[in-house]
């Protein structure tokens, strides 16, 4: 490669290197905030300080879902199969919300009761795409 082209190649590599360094530093600085939610284990290890809203995510524990008979209030437990926290919420749920499925709840955390007073519930979908008929056949 000719001398001046080699020099420009180093220039190109230098740009990419600097940009990569910048991205790495930014993500390193905000590493705790890049995660969308805390798992119940995170919350047990490092209970969040202050009164800000947090997000907790995991699976809805099987058999934990309780619905109120006369209002939209529900209670359930979020688990990561190691630790679990209780959640209560009043409102409409997304279609995919059900027991043993992924969920992300936003709300105010109570350290003493290890429970979350949620004002938003999001359902998390996994990467599995299975036709209805196949699933029915598998469950038989």
């Amino acid at each position: 490669m000719k001398q001046h082209r080699l020099r420009r190649l180093y220039g190109v590599l230098f740009i990419v290197f600097c940009s990569a360094l910048a991205f790495v530093l930014v993500y390193f600085a905000i590493r705790d905030n890049v995660n969308l939610f805390y798992s119940p284990s995170d919350l047990f290890e490092n209970p969040p300080q202050g009164r800000n809203a947090i997000r907790a995510g995991g699976l809805v524990e099987i058999g934990s879902l309780r619905r109120s008979t006369d209002s939209l209030e529900i209670e359930f437990i979020i688990t990561d199969l190691k630790k679990s926290i209780a959640v209560n919420y009043t409102g409409i749920l997304p279609d995919l919300f059900k027991e043993n499925a992924g969920v992300v709840a936003t709300g105010y955390f109570d350290k003493n009761k290890m429970s979350l007073d949620a004002y938003q519930i999001l359902a998390k979908h996994d990467e599995n795409y299975v036709p209805k008929e196949v699933k029915k056949a598998l469950e038989k």
């Binding site: 991205f23 938003q120 979908h125 996994d126 990467e127 209805k132 699933k135």
Partner: protein
């Protein structure tokens, strides 16, 4: 072999050669890409099975996945062109970046929009600031920056140089888009299609998806060549070869 590659590379840099060859392949690319998109859309929307968990809303995948996938590939190819422009000063690379950036931006936008439309019924929200969605928005903003910078310079050469640099800066964002779902807790699910291992999407749903991806890729080739020809004819309109070409037609 190496010599042949080198010859091809030099030909790629030639505007008259490119103009002639691209004119021949464009009709075929246009026909096959639109055919594939129509077939895969009908297959995906009406004939592929309903998903067990999500129901019919999952069919947005036949638009969402091809769009976001091609938007990332376009950016990778643009950053290769940016390096080629900066090192070899090949004018064609500048034409490539300028022509492909709006296409990449459009497909990133389709990806973000279709994802939001899917997210509302399945997740319960249009938008969430998780790592995958945010880094894809950053990709969209890089595309907009590249498009915007094109017209902020008096000379074509300085514009192409500046745009190449900003393109290379943004390429670091792409591995983050790709790996965000593995590195951090996100609402967005990990990839369903795997090249090395087994895909976690059933084959009846996967085949039309692969067809739609192929269709969109061909469509990008088609529109990319069209846009490049338009750009070349605007840059070279006063050159001899171009005048001769237009007077022949």
């Amino acid at each position: 072999m190496f010599q042949a590659l080198k010859n091809f590379y030099h030909k790629l840099g030639s505007f008259p050669w490119f103009y002639k060859i691209s004119g021949k392949v464009i009709p075929f690319l246009g026909f096959f890409s639109i055919l594939l998109i129509v077939i895969s859309s009908i297959w995906g929307l009406f004939f592929s099975p309903t998903d067990a968990v999500q129901g019919d809303v999952y069919r947005i995948i036949y638009f969402h996945v091809p769009a976001v996938s091609v938007s990332q590939v376009i950016y990778y190819s643009m950053s290769v062109a940016a390096a080629v422009f900066l090192i070899w000063r090949m004018k064609m690379a500048g034409v490539y970046i300028k022509s492909l950036a709006p296409i990449g931006a459009a497909f990133t936008f389709i990806g973000l929009l279709s994802g939001a439309i899917w997210g509302q019924p399945t997740w319960g929200t249009w938008w969430v600031w998780d790592a995958r969605l945010t880094s894809t928005l950053v990709l969209f903003l890089f595309y907009l920056a590249i498009i915007g910078m094109q017209s902020t310079f008096a000379s074509r050469k300085s514009a192409d140089t500046a745009v190449s640099i900003i393109t290379l800066v943004g390429v670091v964002n792409l591995p983050i888009v790709k790996k965000s779902v593995d590195w951090w807790n996100t609402l967005h699910q990990p990839a369903s299609i795997s090249i090395s291992g087994e895909s976690s999407i059933s084959s009846e749903m996967l085949i039309p998806l692969l067809l739609s991806i192929l269709g969109v890729y061909l469509f990008v080739f088609f529109t990319g060549l069209l846009f490049m020809r338009a750009e070349i004819s605007s840059r070279e309109q006063n050159k001899e070869w171009f005048k001769k070409l237009s007077s022949n037609n």
